[in-house]
Symmetry: D2
Subunit: 258 residues, 4 copies
Amino acid sequence: MRIQIDVAMQYRFTRPNTIFLTIEAAKCAGQTVTYENLYVGDIPINRIAGDSGVGQRVWAQVPWNELSMSYKAQVDVTRQPVALERLSAVPVHLIPAEVAPYLRPSRYCQSDKFGAFVEKRFGNLQGGQKVAAMRSWIEANLTYVPGSSDADTNVLETFAGRQGVCRDYAHLMCTMVRAAQIPARMVAAYSPDIMPPDFHAIAEVWLDGDWHMVDATGMCSADSTAIIAVGRDAYDIAFLDSQVPAEMLYQSVFVTRI
Amino acid sequence: MRIQIDVAMQYRFTRPNTIFLTIEAAKCAGQTVTYENLYVGDIPINRIAGDSGVGQRVWAQVPWNELSMSYKAQVDVTRQPVALERLSAVPVHLIPAEVAPYLRPSRYCQSDKFGAFVEKRFGNLQGGQKVAAMRSWIEANLTYVPGSSDADTNVLETFAGRQGVCRDYAHLMCTMVRAAQIPARMVAAYSPDIMPPDFHAIAEVWLDGDWHMVDATGMCSADSTAIIAVGRDAYDIAFLDSQVPAEMLYQSVFVTRI
Amino acid sequence: MRIQIDVAMQYRFTRPNTIFLTIEAAKCAGQTVTYENLYVGDIPINRIAGDSGVGQRVWAQVPWNELSMSYKAQVDVTRQPVALERLSAVPVHLIPAEVAPYLRPSRYCQSDKFGAFVEKRFGNLQGGQKVAAMRSWIEANLTYVPGSSDADTNVLETFAGRQGVCRDYAHLMCTMVRAAQIPARMVAAYSPDIMPPDFHAIAEVWLDGDWHMVDATGMCSADSTAIIAVGRDAYDIAFLDSQVPAEMLYQSVFVTRI
Amino acid sequence: MRIQIDVAMQYRFTRPNTIFLTIEAAKCAGQTVTYENLYVGDIPINRIAGDSGVGQRVWAQVPWNELSMSYKAQVDVTRQPVALERLSAVPVHLIPAEVAPYLRPSRYCQSDKFGAFVEKRFGNLQGGQKVAAMRSWIEANLTYVPGSSDADTNVLETFAGRQGVCRDYAHLMCTMVRAAQIPARMVAAYSPDIMPPDFHAIAEVWLDGDWHMVDATGMCSADSTAIIAVGRDAYDIAFLDSQVPAEMLYQSVFVTRI
């Protein structure tokens, strides 16, 4: 499926600084970027690979207090949705070096606290069936409430509060899966099915030796979702990380099937 | 029912200091202290009333680095267990001044985070039926695991971790009940049914204009439980609060039916 | 000094509910309310005493999804500023029952974590001199930044972040003072010297057997400040506590010397 | 300098499980392992590279409820201590992909909360001078108190509590450095100068395009310290991570100069 991405944003900073942008669609398995254009004006930028080698990120040196940016792209998404239930967990002793960090807790995902819950609720299931049951549990038990969380909300608060937005759903997904000794990571993505349109966050779980998308919000599907970046949680995949307080003046994210 | 209490403890402090002891059985409705003797040796003590006027507490000026204490008492417990399900919640606008603080969050009980969960899970129930359902939920979903928590564990961790000891059960009970706009407080108590024998913590909920005991661990019953003190959470009812680090050298708590 | 208070607010709720208002100036030592008028429209209200018997609070049953309120008052503030440095701490063993809870940590004030810092930094000072040094430390080390905190910010975050608004200054003040075994409580107040005008939060410390105001922001003075309510931290003195999410449509707080 | 490492440990698990061992000295720049022997008995193990390619880790499938392990090694440490003050920070826009994650917060290091403090206290310094000043600040303001923290203690608590052990010192070091936009990571290490002998944790900071050791406890020096592993914080470098509760039966770590 081909999707078109159209992002525009304008930010004000308290002073000139170097910002870190994570908004370009990744060139990776399952998707081909057929066209793209990042516009940040006439300022110096440096591109580096994203975490775990997925996608790329941009250091942009903003010489003023304000920046207008846009990103337009077309992406052919060729990955197919998989039936999680048919996938197997890899025994932990075969988890390779580059995947092992995704077994562990992170800034917002205190997975070390969830072992007993996950054992009690999902202990009788294995591998992909366990992950699928967790996904269903989250979808059934959380309510999607815009504004109910902020950038500081961690998964302990989400689990108690039973509401959140996509980042919170993905945090809880990653947390439960990690607590069951299955690797899980956070993914920033573009999808045409997010309402209202915005940057989206989902999880990827590592089953049968590969990463597979899981969207606990139920909003988007692997065959129409373009990955931007991966990381251990929301902080690692923030679309904009600045060194000084940033005020959003304008932001729009449109993703459409074409 | 008459119970006999026999407490002995020996603590070492990093330096002389004034400690706060909350170990005497309260003289309050539902129980009569027929005999008691607190021994702290020949040091100055001052008694003050406990929080909300329940029981009494002792400031003890320990002039050395070590203290041996004992407390022996007999208490006639005359209160009867009540069927929570038959009790009604008082409409919040009729909650009096002395009860209102027990609607609010505290150090270990972030009840402000649990509103959505409580509404989803128990929203169709009222008053005592709601409280009884919460008690059953906690008993069914938590596992009693000595050593699984410490003095720093808060209710967000308990709710995710699904295990704990009596303080954690009582914290979650107070938290859920407060999140449903029903007053709840923490109670330190003696009970002959605690295994292994120790200080016990339970909750009290305010229904039909009075406080009623709820023990989410299911271990003890209102008609054999002697209240020591009440407060907003575990910190308020600690049996020993010292100004400097304290090391337990010996401690035993025996409570028996006589 | 006589001050005039003029509050107006309009809130929208997700559904009818009973709210808890803490906006009336207290009738207490140091201030006389010479005129006041609370307007909440034609809805049922119940007044109860505030925590520790200071001031009063209002349960208001809002039958609609929206409420407009106003509060107008004139208060003669007769209390005099005191020189903290001249006051003595009361030995802890003489701290009475009604003051003892203010030695302990609370929802946002984890004073149990600050013992070593307070001992190192202020351990050589006593009583009011210690409190005054803490006040100066906070004023010197924190920056007043509107918007830098929210209702969820706790004192561990404030202490690390070194910025905040009045609630955060007062939280840190209460926390440090409690960590030094001196009682401290949170106070909601009106003051003509707050810029921009708003509800204000300060601390009260218990020295020489009485409560004394301390404003770590340095903005307001005891002789022009009218107390509304006291409690263990910001949650206990919130001007509006509703059972359902509340959206502010309008709010103004004007306090002037007259 | 040549050091000899001699580790012995015995652990009991609640059931057979696969454990993750991070105890072998790394083969990396600055140190040569001239002899080593890991003994875990006759059980299957898999070695994988450590995080960021530093050192190696062992998945060990423990078929029983108990395991005795030993590790003996000799390491020639050839790295020289550097004068931090002479090193420069790399401008953030030149920070490469593999280093960028070490700019960000992690499970125990909420560096996103420390920006204002770091700017106020160290904002006038640059690069290595800034890092050196932070190191001195931590050494001067923290007290090394065995038992004052546990595996759950985060840097907000350490910063308030002003005490801890090596992990807490290193957490605070990493946190402050990251808050100043300089990469920092956690390092597990062996050193002959730790008293009492134990696994040690220090920080590495990325200056002038390379990683440099910083030990805020002041206990150990780069020319006698053997790196085991690196990561974002203590969780990533734990010497033993088991899937079920583990009880230490015996543990000794001896490191000597030879």
